[in-house]
Symmetry: C2
Subunit: 312 residues, 2 copies
């Protein structure tokens, strides 16, 4: 294979009760990437459309992720890689922008190399991209981007991500208010200690959510979609969060919470009709503010990154 064009999906991390561990993959929100072999060795990012990000592979998560993959190969590669990206997911949106770049980059390079690694094995390389973006090799966005569906980070050392089943017919509605929340602020607002009784309710809900996915039980899934630990703090950083959540639940959503570390807010619905009704409500609420915003409705992507075109 000489060239590959892919769709690299957006992802929701920190799903309600599953702070730092639960994520899921979106179907209709994501970046386009082209990767091709070059005679000249090394990594070259030749074009990024849609956002202002560094082309220097040392400073770009795609470059860092590819470098981690190449370092893990047993033998040197006799050619180089050129990467082009059309970024539809804005950095800092909370729906896995850096993860899409990192996961897409290692997926594409792996295909060009004849697939020496499995999807699971690509996760630590993509997580090295995340390390460049946020300081830690986190996997709650790159996991679902590479595996698809819902994923659970069982452990970070060594990195171990589990693929969970998906409830059929589930849709996500997302609103991205275009405000900047500094990563430092969204971290600083979290307590280092949490009440034991809240933590117990949280892990009861994580267990319930995993069971609900296996049982394809929408009602049980809805019961589990509560965050007693992080949302009470971080929601203060997102204007209109309470109104958005109230509107989601009032209009039939199964649950609503902060996507990643925000500012995006997601709601899950049991069908497209409800998800679109929720989207209208989200738009109405933010139209009353001066904050620019985007909304999305997406099914859950069970496959992860998708190949659009290859050239042999």
């Amino acid at each position: 294979m000489k060239e590959i064009e892919i769709f690299s999906p957006g992802t929701i991390a920190n799903i309600s009760c599953g702070f730092d561990v639960l994520g899921c993959c979106l179907d209709s929100v994501g970046d386009h990437m082209s990767l091709r072999k070059t005679k000249e060795k090394g990594i070259r990012i030749s074009r990024i459309t849609g956002v202002d990000l560094p082309l220097d592979p040392e400073k770009n998560v795609a470059g860092a992720a590819i470098k981690a993959l190449l370092n893990a190969l047993n033998q040197p590669v006799g050619f180089g890689f050129e990467v082009e990206m059309t970024k539809n997911i804005k950095p800092g949106s909370g729906i896995g922008s850096s993860a899409a770049s990192a996961a897409g980059a290692v997926f594409g390079v792996n295909e060009l190399l004849g697939r020496p690694f499995s999807a699971e094995e690509l996760i630590p390389f993509a997580a090295e991209g995340e390390r460049l973006a946020c300081g830690s090799p986190i996997a709650d966005n790159v996991g679902p981007a590479l595996l698809g569906g819902f994923t659970l980070v069982q452990a970070n050392t060594p990195l171990h991500v589990l693929k969970l089943p998906v409830i059929a017919g589930l849709y996500a509605t997302i609103i991205h208010p275009q405000i900047e929340i500094k990563t430092a602020d969204s971290r600083a607002i979290l307590p280092t200690e949490v009440p034991l009784k809240d933590a117990i309710q949280q892990w009861a809900n994580v267990g319930t959510l995993v069971h609900a996915l296996h049982e394809n039980d929408t009602e049980l899934f809805a019961l589990s979609l509560h965050d007693h630990i992080v949302e009470p703090h971080r929601s203060k950083l997102i204007p209109k969060f309470d109104s958005i959540k109230e509107a989601a639940l009032k209009n039939g959503a199964l649950g609503c919470g902060i996507s990643g570390s925000g500012p995006s807010i997601y709601a899950f619905s049991k069908d497209l009709y409800t998800a679109e009704k929720v989207e209208v409500e989200f738009s109405n609420i933010y139209s009353e503010t001066t904050i620019p915003f985007h909304t999305y409705v997406s099914g859950i992507n069970e496959k992860g990154i998708k190949i659009i075109r290859t050239e042999e």
Copy 2:
């Protein structure tokens, strides 16, 4: 039905990562109970063998649980109930002694009444027995006693217990050191606040454990059997805990932890051979102390309470 004789099983609550929420039901450890209709109305506990517990139904968990069930019936009952118990599970052992009495009592009465309630519906009545024993209507022992297998307490208000799948061929080894740990002490030793990073690892493990049960994945189950929150505190109250745990893992057990609030310690093994080897090691370690102890090896009971005999 005039009379019913049942086996009411012991249970392991607080399974490793699942403090307050995860429990499982034992197969070869439990009480025998007989319940029969009497002309005289009311509840009478006529005999308790094996342990010294009050016969007064107002002061016995079996009486409290039956009373809760009768209060929930729409119509008065034209007869009374006599209860006899052979308690093989010692109170204060940490393997669900009060739960076996409470669950067995409501199960038996429900059968004598022609089964007006489902097993799930019996849980809140049995939990009222637990309220008499420990001050709270907890369900992490009565849940598995009534439903069998592994259970997850999704919520306490309203009480909602989920039945989870069982990994085939799993065995539990239990050692009950006959020391008294006062409930007040085992509660007082717990912090009211816990580090967020430990809580995150705990809920990652609860999610992993539930996934492992669904996937029938013994290795994954073993990975999840860690308790970063409660065990470091409560294990201090149990002599030789560290040696016991080390011996369990060294001899092939999948995991080892405190059963309920102790002093019993359980280990899970993937087969009977390993579980019995672990039992020998447990016995060896406690034989070097002056503390009397019992050991048990048991399969996981998928059914819960079992009917031994009925008289129509």
